[in-house]
């Protein structure tokens, strides 16, 4: 579904992403973890077509080209349109889709998404009237309306409280199972990554330094020993990489 070949991103002399190569298959849930400044968000921006890059990337067989949308994107700061209601925000992307379905089909799609994200009762509200968790639901629904094959999520739960993070994490898994999309989640949280994903890619210094497969059936819980070990391993690896960087061994 997603193929990345020698993806490199530079800002001036600074190489933020260094010849990344990886594949992500259909219906995979992959998390990318790493310290601040390792290039996680930049990678997502490149895959979303928001940044130019060297190398190549393709989504569902189509080359990712800057300026052409290939993935749905959910940002940490929601990026909702304050002048539009919940329903209008969700509906926004339909206006610019190449494939024009009938009005009825589009409306049905909007209704289905609102229902899936538990937003039907709030459709007439503006983003300022919603809590952080509700805003993130709207952001997710809005990104799904264009039916992207891949959903990129850049620390979507970072600014939410622990309980809301947990709830939305569960709902995200349900969405993933229902829609069968590829989800790439950028997160600082090793536990979040391990609990949600099939694979956890550890990014450091613009490179994929480690990939941890989470071969544990869902539902996963923190009380499971294997999950705890995986989380510990990811955190230790991140810490080791950070120490490596500080000591200049990189």
């Amino acid at each position: 579904m997603l193929e990345v070949r020698d993806l490199t991103k530079r800002f001036g002399d600074n190489v933020v992403l260094d010849r990344l190569n990886f594949d992500i298959g259909n219906n995979e849930f992959v998390s990318i973890v790493g310290h601040s400044g390792c290039g996680k968000s930049t990678l997502l921006n490149c895959l979303a077509g928001l940044e130019s890059f060297e190398g190549s990337a393709s989504v569902a067989g189509q080359q990712v080209v800057p300026g052409r949308v290939s993935c749905g994107v959910v940002f940490q700061d929601y990026a909702l349109f304050p002048w539009l209601t919940v329903e209008q925000n969700v509906r926004f992307g339909l206006r610019f889709t190449v494939t024009r379905n009938s009005r009825r089909e589009m409306s049905e799609r909007v209704e289905a998404l609102l229902a899936m994200m538990d937003l039907s009762d709030f459709r007439g509200l503006y983003p300022r009237q919603l809590s952080g968790g509700m805003r993130q639901r709207v952001a997710i629904a809005r990104s799904l309306i264009i039916d992207p094959p891949v959903l990129l999520m850049d620390e979507p739960f970072a600014s939410l409280d622990a309980l809301t993070r947990r709830r939305l994490g569960s709902e995200l898994l349900n969405i993933w199972k229902t829609t069968k999309k590829v989800i790439i989640l950028v997160t600082h949280s090793a536990s979040e990554a391990v609990l949600l994903s099939d694979r956890v890619m550890i990014l450091h210094g613009g490179r994929v330094r480690h990939v941890e497969h989470i071969d544990v059936p869902r539902p996963r819980t923190l009380s499971q020993k294997i999950i705890g070990e995986k989380i510990d391993f990811v955190e230790r690896t991140l810490a080791d990489l950070q120490t490596e960087k500080k000591s200049g061994l990189e």
Binding site: N21, F22, D23, I24, G25, E28, L50, G67, V69, C71, G72, V73, D77, A79, L80, F81, W83, L84, T85, F92, G93, R95, F96, F122, L125, Y126, R128, Q129, L130, S131, M134, R142, S143, I146, L163, R166, R167, G169, S170, L173, N174, K177, L195, D198, R199, V208, R209, H210, V211, E212, H213, I214, D215, V216, P217, R218, P219, R220, T221, S223
Partner: protein, 325 residues
Amino acid sequence: MIGGAVACVRGEHALIERGGAAVTENGRVGPRAKRPADADQEGTGFGGQSDRTPIAEPALRRGVIRSSLRWPSGRLLRRMVALACLITTWQLLVVTGVLNPLFVASPGAVITEFRTLWSSGVYQEDLGTSLRRVVVGFIVGGGAAVICGYVLASSPLAEDIFDWPVQAARSISPLALVPLTVLWLGTGELQKYVLIGITVFFPVLIAVHGAVRSVPEEILRGARTLNCQGRWRTFRYVVIPISAPAIFNALRIGIAMALLVIVAAEMIGADNGIGYLILNSGQVFDTPAVFVGIVSVAVLGTLFDRILLLAKRRFCRWHVETVVG
């Protein structure tokens, strides 16, 4: 599952992978062939608990943000009482001689004079003339400023060319332009329209430019991810709606300045209008008529401001005016 680390050297960096071989022949990291079957049950979530927890997520924010559509009756009452007190105090100060009625007409005298002017038809003619000049100049100047503001904000070349001249020109008092515009255009209606237009143009231009430049980057980025790309689409569906409240505020400033200038312009080069009424009445010590003119301008200004404010609230329902404190 293959335990331990499988080192795969590709290029200049090593890729370490645990938890099973998923490195393809040419060394790329790929997906696992098969994923352990997940339990097919509702409510998968962290900690294995159902996400249908009884704790309701707060859906609505509570805070001091106030809807701009509500008009609390307590506030209206306070404003009316304050105005009544002001007028009463004014009347008392004149009637008791604290203020000389030759120089300050009482509210009663102003109302009487207003009736006289109204019945003679003079007031309506002067008011209508001033109104026409203000409205035409405002529409032309304000409209041009909105368009130019958007162009200036979106074109680095236009900004490089016009920024300094605009900054210099907006520092010039519109009143200083009165003799010049009379020289160029005479004392006819065109001179008034141009003067009002120039007066309104610069403050609205600066405000529009600032509003467009202040569109949050995350909003633009969000729009791009939804295929809203290209300059025109972005303007129409993002920039214009989000900058609308600031544009309305700029227009409110513009209309106030327009009224300011029209009075002065009519004092210098006109034989009708509210400014002419004020000047002419002052020259013959008809203080009540002077106050009729002044109060008319004040009422007009308030009226225009309210109209624009209502329009802003109608078209920008989403916008909240926060109250500090």
